[in-house]
């Protein structure tokens, strides 16, 4: 795949890093990495790998950025039909994706507020959904985040 790498000249070093990353460090010491850029397939693999490192698909946000500021933000996880409609899902991934959207639109304050509230709720460990080891419902988790946002104002 030498020719492909020659084209991605700026990303060449990053690709080297990814190969090194995959070989040793991503699994052993992921903290050494900051920003990674890569072609499509490697991105698919590495983004899921990193999601696994930070706690899974339930907490991983993402954004798809196009030209002229066109962007779609979405969570990385799928439709989860087995828990749909049961008030059990973890809204963190979609919520953090919304925060990314707010930042993209320039509404940094709102984004920061919601993100802080979300992280504080998870850190406190009192109100957590099933996938994070808690027993609360999705609505209860969301209500807790809303309460923290209200308290911030």
């Amino acid at each position: 795949m030498g020719l492909n790498r020659v084209l991605f000249l700026e990303a060449e070093d990053q690709i080297k890093c990814i190969y090194i990353a995959l070989r040793t460090s991503m699994v052993q010491d992921p903290t050494q990495f900051d920003v990674l850029v890569m072609p499509n397939l490697y991105g698919d693999i590495l983004s899921d790998l990193c999601a696994g490192l930070i706690g899974g698909l339930g907490v991983t946000p993402s954004g798809n950025i196009g030209a002229n500021g066109v962007a779609i933000f979405e969570s990385v996880h799928g439709t989860a039909p087995d828990i749909a409609g049961l008030d059990m899902a973890n809204p963190t991934a979609l919520l953090l994706s919304a925060v990314m959207m707010l930042r993209h639109m320039g509404m940094h304050d709102y984004g920061k507020k919601i993100e802080t509230a979300c992280f504080d709720t998870i850190r406190d460990k009192k109100v957590l959904t099933g996938d994070l080891g808690g027993k609360s419902k999705c609505s209860e988790f969301t209500e807790e985040i809303c309460r923290r946002v209200r308290d911030m104002d």
């Binding site: 795949m1 030498g2 020719l3 790498r5 084209l7 060449e12 995959l22 070989r23 991503m26 790998l49």
Partner: protein, 389 residues
């Protein structure tokens, strides 16, 4: 095929001159060449006077120093193996052809990784890749097992990874029909997919494993990976005692870093094999610990699993010799020198797990030579058959 015709004529010359003495060697030459045509006889390994000859390719980076340690250890343990050293540099074509001829002659090789620079033109193929495709070493086998003496995030990992080694994304077929637009061909064939799946299931059965997981991306590459998956399913039908399932590669990597204990045997095409084997090596402690083997129908080449050159740590006496030493044990098992293999393997694992003498990559302070010396002391304490320390 110039090399093989030279070999035929050499054997014709040798036979009458040396008569019976070198007849075995000439027979090896003859058998190796004719197997291409007959396709029924597997050449015997190069063995003369009870001593095996193995091709040794030092490679770049840490390869030469680690292979020197292997030679040292073998000499110390009186292992009946002679090494035929073939140096391969990225510069010329001749070197790699010499190496391939040597491996064809001896049947078995132990190698370090040969560096492939990104900056070289596309026409320059990776030497390692060339070796694998020329010798048709279609199965890359890696066994990742948690070692009790090494601290890792996850424990109780025991995964066998079988990676298709000759086609897929590493077919080196790229073209740039329009400037700035490159197309790279990923080749998946029914023959090779069936072959690798057959190998995986056979190995799983031999080792008493319960489940084989095929790793793919058939939802996107419907024809390519779809074919691979279909071939795996067909082969699985012939092994009802072994469970078979399939998992998409991105989900696989995620599961590997969160719950690696769920995997047993995994089979996959070339690129996913590269990714998954490196992730698994990281899970059990790093690239310095895991050996790898490349098997073909006629030849076998042993090396470290993650195929790093380790340029940054070369010649500093800090590289971890475990992977290369365990690879040499796999080679000894392949040559049916099981006693020697077990002796060296036990010594390596004892030094790793009980003595806990570790190199820097797994958090210790030992140098490569200290570790090797400790292994040799361990071997000496176990039995009489050693030379001077």
């Amino acid at each position: 095929m110039a090399a093989s015709s030279a070999v035929i004529s050499m054997s014709k010359i040798i036979k009458p001159i040396w008569g019976g003495r070198l007849a075995t060697t000439a027979k090896v030459f003859g058998a190796t060449v004719s197997s291409r045509r007959e396709k029924s006889t597997v050449p015997p390994p190069a063995k003369y006077g009870g001593r095996h000859t193995v091709t040794l390719i030092p490679g770049d980076g840490i390869g030469p120093e680690l292979l020197n340690h292997v030679k040292e250890l073998f000499r110390f343990s009186c292992v009946p193996v002679d090494f035929e050293v073939v140096n391969v540099s990225s510069a010329t074509e001749d070197d790699i052809n010499n190496a391939i001829t040597a491996i064809r002659r001896n049947g078995v090789a132990l190698k370090g990784n040969i560096e492939t620079l990104h900056t070289l033109p596309a026409s320059h193929k990776s030497r390692n890749n060339l070796l694998r495709t020329s010798l048709d070493l279609y199965a890359n086998v890696m066994h990742c097992k948690s070692l009790p003496g090494v601290q890792t995030r996850h424990n109780n990992i025991d995964i066998m990874i079988i990676r298709e080694n000759t086609e897929g994304e590493y077919s080196s077929l790229e073209h740039e029909s329009v400037s700035g637009v490159v197309e790279c061909l990923k080749i998946i064939t029914r023959t090779n997919s069936l072959r690798i799946a057959e190998y995986a299931f056979k190995l799983a059965r031999e080792k008493g494993r319960k489940r084989v997981t095929a790793v793919h991306k058939a939802n996107i590459m419907k024809l390519g990976d779809g074919l691979f998956l279909q071939c795996c399913r067909e082969v699985a039908a012939g092994y009802p005692d072994i469970a078979f399932d399939a998992m998409i590669v991105d989900n696989t990597t995620m599961q590997l870093v969160s719950k690696p204990q769920q995997f047993d045997v995994m089979v996959m095409p070339n690129l996913y094999g590269n990714v998954v084997s490196n992730v698994c090596a990281g899970l059990v402690g790093g690239p310095g610990l895991v050996p790898g083997a490349n098997y073909g129908r006629d030849y076998a080449v042993f090396e470290t699993a993650t195929r790093n050159t380790g340029k940054s740590i070369a010649d500093r006496n800090i590289a971890n010799p475990t992977a290369m030493l365990l690879a040499s044990c796999m080679m000894l098992d392949h040559l049916k020198l099981h006693d020697y293999a077990t002796m060296i393997r036990n010594a390596v694992l004892t030094t790793m797990n009980e003595t806990r003498l570790h190199t820097a990559d797994i958090g210790g302070q030992g140098t490569t030579s200290e570790v090797v010396q400790a292994i040799m002391r361990n071997i000496q304490s176990k039995g009489p058959l050693t030379s001077e320390l």
